[in-house]
């Protein structure tokens, strides 16, 4: 049995504000396979996380700086980012 690798999680805009941090390094719990799994796990990490991640379908995700859908596998990811729909321009 091998330990899960440490990866970087990044947060932007109101997701960052709600959970009170822009970035963290950690090993995800074993058994998470897709972006949807990670989003569901995030919402269980305490009140701030539930506030940010509790409503399904709102937060967007990028793996290694590319947009991904919630069905995307997280296998091999170095950096996973969570953010609201973009509002530039």
């Amino acid at each position: 049995m091998s330990a899960e690798p440490e990866i970087t999680l990044r947060y932007f805009a109101w997701v960052r504000e709600k959970i009170g941090r822009g970035e963290e390094r950690l090993a995800l719990p074993a058994g998470l396979k897709t972006v949807a799994d990670v989003l569901a796990w995030q919402s269980t990490r305490g009140a701030e996380f539930e506030d940010a991640f509790g409503k399904p379908g709102i937060i967007r995700t990028a793996i290694d700086r590319r947009h991904v859908k919630s069905t995307a596998p997280i296998d091999g990811a170095h950096e996973i980012a969570f953010f609201p729909p973009v509002t530039g321009g």
């Binding site: 700086r65 509002t87 530039g88 321009g89």
Partner: protein, 154 residues
């Protein structure tokens, strides 16, 4: 086909001059500039803060330019997007497209803005007079604008 993400303002005339310097193949050049509006739904905007995802933002803007260059015969293009605190009247974004003929330049400029608005990781937080700063919600019409290009045949 450069892209720049910067806090500093940009000079549209200087950017056009740099893009066209020494070139004689450009017959049409289109610029789009986005600016900070002072009022929205009757409220007075004091300032706007633009956050972004360094690295991914540039990659998405480069992907937008690469996609535009595949769809239209562009001689050159440029995207500059500002970040940080901006005030009413300030420039936010500049898109320049250049081609032999106007149709490609017009369409590519519009495509780049539609792409940027739905995919480039920027987020605006607005402060209105007499109220707390609030994050801007994404608009449905922006998603519809980019979807149009997927179905449209040139």
């Amino acid at each position: 086909m450069p892209v720049r993400v910067q806090a500093e303002d940009f000079d549209v005339a200087a950017e056009i001059a740099a893009l066209t310097s020494g070139r004689t193949d450009i017959g049409a050049l289109v610029t789009f500039t986005g600016l900070v509006r002072s009022t929205q739904d009757g409220r007075d905007l004091v300032s706007m803060m633009l956050e972004h995802y360094p690295g991914m933002t540039e990659a998405e803007l480069e992907a937008a330019e690469a996609e535009a260059a595949k769809r239209w015969p562009l001689a050159a293009s440029l995207i500059i997007h500002r970040v940080g605190e901006l005030h009413p009247g300030s420039n936010i974004v500049l898109v320049i497209t250049a081609s032999q003929h106007r149709q490609a330049a017009f369409q590519a400029a519009e495509f780049l803005m539609d792409y940027l608005k739905t995919r480039a990781p920027f987020w605006k937080k607005e402060t209105f007079s007499g109220s707390e700063a609030a994050w801007v919600d994404a608009r449905e019409c922006d998603a519809e604008a980019i979807a149009r290009w997927a179905s449209e045949k040139r």
